[in-house]
Subunit: 438 residues, 2 copies
């Protein structure tokens, strides 16, 4: 006698939702064999019933009424793929209260409102699965939450946003400008019409927030650590980094250092021979460092219809088996008393790359290096490239670029030095300051 | 009120067993938090009670009597780390019959006797966990068995033996001979005193057998597919491959092609710019290709005390949570009616690299290419390096090396061509024939 089917609702039938519906409807035997029971789509909630869709669902499944899901006691699982925070937050809370387990790819919601959402799930004895929220087709949530169970994770370094990695790769490998590479990413569907949340680092920051919560049991919203994007980078930065033997990546990083967490998402110079520097195109990659296992490396497609739908479907199967419920109950999420605290931003340390625009006259180099020295920052490299910059302003003193790589220093010392540089008439704005990975 | 402790026995307190004992005894709070209950080592079964050990266990835990485990109804989990097939097979069957769940790193036993062992486990409603049996610290069993659940896996390409990968890396990067690199691997503890099972491909073959069973539901013993090792490779092969833009790796590969599986472990030329070609040192790497998710890549330490113990401990925690029991019940292992069959060996296709030693006289090239042509094998590259080989035999015709890369051909055609080459007086033995990856 076959087991009871698992009945689910897909809330949001966009790109990923359509992918999930296709997998479930096109491979019923595979799903039955893996899950031990059939999985049926009982409802798919959409905004526009008349829109043409790339998947065929039985009559009566498509609805624009979320209440038909909330009220239906036969629906045990809701797959939330609306994205964004509102109304996804309110919908998810109501679904949990109505007794539905949740599968979601919503990184923004989990990062910014994880405490409330997870508390609600626990209160109603429900499970939330979110493998698809971070790094799409890479099973990093399972890796951190299950496979690393013998370890205290001590570091995560990752490329978590495929859009920006594609743009940076095009800038590096084809010499494109930021604007050209962004346009191409949009043409190819790797970037959205409004790419803000990708290019300013928010998307990667939210994903890192979820990983940090899973690995370290801390509540960290993306406003509480350093998040910056790639939208200010110029071709010249990519080129200077390359000349120095580095590749610029939007690096998401969290590490445990003397009981405190240092955490950031920012464009970072990575030595060109390191694996993370060699991940090109719209891919994600994650390097986990566990205190027992050492380094384990993952890479694959971090976004896109089918990779993300693959992760969502694995979560649905886990719920059908009953495994997800056990996993969720044992995850180290959003603890009341977090075992670790974030290091104060000013105390986090890094090496830095500085690109300054300085007046081309005697003594400027001494002024700049004097400022850095007085702030306790020592230099590893200083380069003044031969070609002077052209300054279009008639009569102005011409400027030249100055490239500086520092040894490890604190963010506080760097900020103090930046304030002092602001006071030097010989140093022009804007300057570019980038972190350099060890 | 704390939950009941999980009581376990470690059977075999060698390198990995000691690592597991250290993790469990040195991090009780971590284990309690992850597993939701304490995990206690009630027995550790060893051959020699008097041997000094790198871990301190409470009095009465160490025993040389396996019966004390089998008879003890309070021991629910046995961690089998004896290795090898006998007496591990008999011990594991008795442990299962006595109602113990099993955690094991024993790839040989699972590959060669998986059908019997798993049947016994099912009969006694027991669970076998074997994350540590393949690729040590890389959670590839969880990836294939759980995270890829929405996918039909269509291909696996992997480096599954760290010893041979270390040797090949040293031969490539430092120009060492096979013998020198093997000696160094032994000095560093990467190779055992008797390295036979590593260097002849058996170890990687057994691991690939387990992965194939998990991914494709087939029973394949390592004698049923092509397994060869690196012990015949010469420095000159590494160098010729490098000159052609390739790196030689011991590649474990299984792919699904028109419903049939092609499977092999053999030294293989991989284009030097491919990620698998760039995995150097004692590491493992695995590229999974799923029909939904596309390629997902894993790498990390495939052996060693702590990486393997990390995987064993994660399995123990999974059993303590109850998740492993659900996973095992749903795995697609050793099906009665396998959905796929192995392609006949002769029909599997590949490109090939041939290094021949031929007489340095007119017409030899025409004879060799004639043999290949008559067997339907077309060539992509043919190189006769300038320096002739020295033949020490007085009066003998001097020989020169001849390097040939073929286009894709069947193993059957290649074997026929090899038989014909054997009949040519101008071609000397031995020759080197290696696969070339696409």
């Amino acid at each position: 006698m076959p087991a009871e089917p698992l009945q689910l609702a897909i809330v949001g039938l966009g790109n990923v939702g359509t992918g999930v519906a296709k997998i479930l409807t096109e491979h019923p035997e595979r799903i039955l064999q893996r899950a031990g029971r059939p999985i049926e789509i009982r409802r798919a909630v959409v905004r526009d019933l008349n829109k043409s869709r790339d998947v065929t669902l039985p009559a009566g499944v498509l609805t624009n009424d979320i209440e038909s899901v909330i009220r239906d006691p036969n629906i045990h699982v809701a797959v939330e793929l609306m994205g964004g925070i509102h109304p996804a937050r309110e919908v998810m809370l109501r679904l949990l209260e109505a007794g539905k387990d949740i599968v979601t790819a919503n990184k923004a919601l989990l990062c910014e409102h994880g405490d409330e959402i997870f508390e609600c799930a626990r209160k109603h004895k429900r499970t939330i699965c979110f493998e698809a929220a971070v790094a799409g087709g890479i099973p990093i949530i399972a890796a951190v939450g299950q496979s690393m169970a013998a370890n205290q994770i001590i570091g995560i370094q990752a490329i978590l946003n495929g859009t920006t990695n594609y743009i940076l790769s095009e800038m590096l490998l084809r010499g494109q400008s930021y604007g050209e590479a962004l346009q191409q990413a949009q043409d190819l569907g790797y970037a959205e019409a409004d790419p803000t949340l990708d290019v300013n680092g928010t998307d990667a920051g939210q994903k890192l927030g979820i990983l940090a919560q899973l690995a370290f049991g801390v509540k960290v919203k993306s406003s509480e650590f350093h998040v910056s994007g790639i939208d200010k980078l110029e071709r010249t930065d990519i080129q200077h980094a390359k000349d120095l033997g580095y590749t610029i990546k939007l690096l998401a990083r969290v590490s445990l250092n003397k009981g405190r967490l240092e955490m950031s998402v920012r464009p970072t110079l990575i030595r060109a021979d390191r694996p993370l520097a060699q991940v090109h195109g719209p891919f994600n990659a994650i390097l986990l460092d566990g205190d027992v296992v050492g380094n384990v490396w993952y890479s694959g497609r971090g976004a896109g219809q089918l990779p993300t739908a693959s992760a969502v479907t694995a979560d649905i199967i886990d719920l059908a088996i009953g495994r997800a419920q056990l996993t969720f109950a044992h995850l180290d999420l959003w603890r009341e008393t977090p075992p670790f605290a974030l290091a104060p931003l000013n105390e986090s340390t890094s090496r830095y790359f500085l690109r300054l625009s300085v007046e081309d006259r005697p003594n400027v180099l001494a002024e700049v290096t004097g400022v850095l020295g007085r702030n306790g920052i020592s230099l590893s490299t200083i380069i003044q490239p031969e070609a002077p910059e052209v300054d279009a302003t008639a009569g102005a003193i011409p400027t030249v670029p100055l490239i500086i790589m520092t040894h490890r220093t604190s963010a506080g010392s760097l900020a103090a030095a930046e304030r002092d540089l602001d006071r030097l008439a010989s140093v022009r704005s804007p300057r570019m300051v980038l972190a350099v990975a060890d």
